[in-house]
Symmetry: C7
Subunit: 97 residues, 7 copies
């Protein structure tokens, strides 16, 4: 089984971060408080080309923590680990402390 | 939980302003007099690229008070506060006294 | 409540002109003779950008009397007055005596 | 009531020509022999802009007699006269003797 | 009644050629052997403009015999003769002996 | 009846190759083993124009053996022979021994 | 029967890799653990043209192992072997150990 995937075009490979079921203070979190999930960027494609033929770099980079849309994302299994593949225009933003 | 979101492309993060249920003179406002709501811009993305590869700056900036469309907007929770994410082309305008 | 709205992109803020129910000679006008309405332009946006990145000025300007399409237009309340917001490409033309 | 309309973009204001119910020789014409109608161009807009930002002049000019499509056209009343507003790309051609 | 039509844009005015019901050898042709029909080009428009603002000449010229698509074409009566109006991109090709 | 068709734009005229019902070794082939069919290119159009106004040559040339899509293709009769007309972007590839 | 197919435009010919029904350790794999399949690139087209008329090379090359989308792909038989034809923008990425 292949271990690494290099996405094509503006695709982004993300490993989802599962929200903790309890807060750090131990309070049980009701079912995920927001419909959106987040994840870590594992690999990005080379980017799309614009009409003038230039390659547009992908909007996020490896290592970023990103906010993912409610829908979409293709499930991908690599080396028995689960990832999700998105187009960069569907990623909502990068998360920071 | 992440505290800050840097939106991608031409996305705009807005904190909605809840309309006062009474006017300053104390008169009880019937249920929101207009279907549109307003909000404060908290963060904006770098902008979209046009066909010639130039980045088009976002139409509003951090700190603007903006008029929001009746529909759309993705709900986002950050540090237990609620925000909404819009594309800049859906924001109707900036509000001024 | 905000008093002024600066529209974004190619949006145009219009105050509708209510057609007189009687002609100047006093003859009672049957229900509005035409489905189209007209209005006064109150504010215009900076315009859209074309593919080459140039800003295209809005097709009408503040103070113009314009012919409005039968449908469309977003209702906007500012300082208890009612306005309507259109995209400039939906405005049919400017009216002149 | 406004007397003149300056159309926007590539819109064309046309006054329809009602086909004679009888031929010049007096023969009664059965209900309009063709579904298409014709009209006189009364006013034209400045034209649309192409992607490179140039304004494309409208395809017909004031005074032209034009062949109108079977459908479309927005009815407009000006000074109690009836006109129809078309986009220039919907006008089929100019008629000549 | 107008006698001539100058088509707009990339429109092409065609006079249909009715297929002979019998072959030259007199053999009765079953109902039109092919669904496609052909016709003579009577007039062509100036052409469409491309994004860079250049006018693209129409793909066929006056006098060409052309193969017409199975569907489409607007019926036009001029001087009691029947014609059909097509966009040049819908014309399949030019016919030659 | 016309004998030759010069296709317009990026259209390609193809004469279909009917697959042999038996293999060269005489074994009866069950109904066509693949849904795709192939054919010989008889004539090609001048090509389409791109946005910059350049003509893009057609992707295949006269004499090529091509793999045809499962659907599409307009049936054309010329001189009692049957051909099919495709757009070049629908032709899957060229076949070689 | 043709033995080789040169794809047109940005089409990619792929020979699917059938996942082993058992792991190397002999454990029987339940029906394919992921909906996605992979394959070996056998041939690629010359690429599409962008609006400026430049040819955009295909995103993958002959010999690559690629991750294929869940749907799509046209089945092609060549010399009794089965292949699938994709557009390069539908190929999710290249697989590496």
């Amino acid at each position: 089984m292949a271990k690494r995937l290099l996405p094509t075009f503006n695709r982004v490979l993300v490993e989802k971060i599962l929200p903790p079921s309890k807060t750090t203070a131990g309070i049980f979190l009701p079912e995920k408080s927001s419909k959106l999930s987040s994840g870590k960027v594992v690999a990005v494609g080379p980017g799309l080309r614009d009409k003038a033929g230039n390659t547009i770099p992908v909007a996020v980079k490896e290592g970023d923590t990103v906010l993912l849309p409610e829908y979409g994302g293709t499930q991908v299994k690599l080396d028995d680990k689960e990832y999700h593949l998105y187009r960069d225009e569907d990623i909502l933003g990068t998360l920071h402390d």
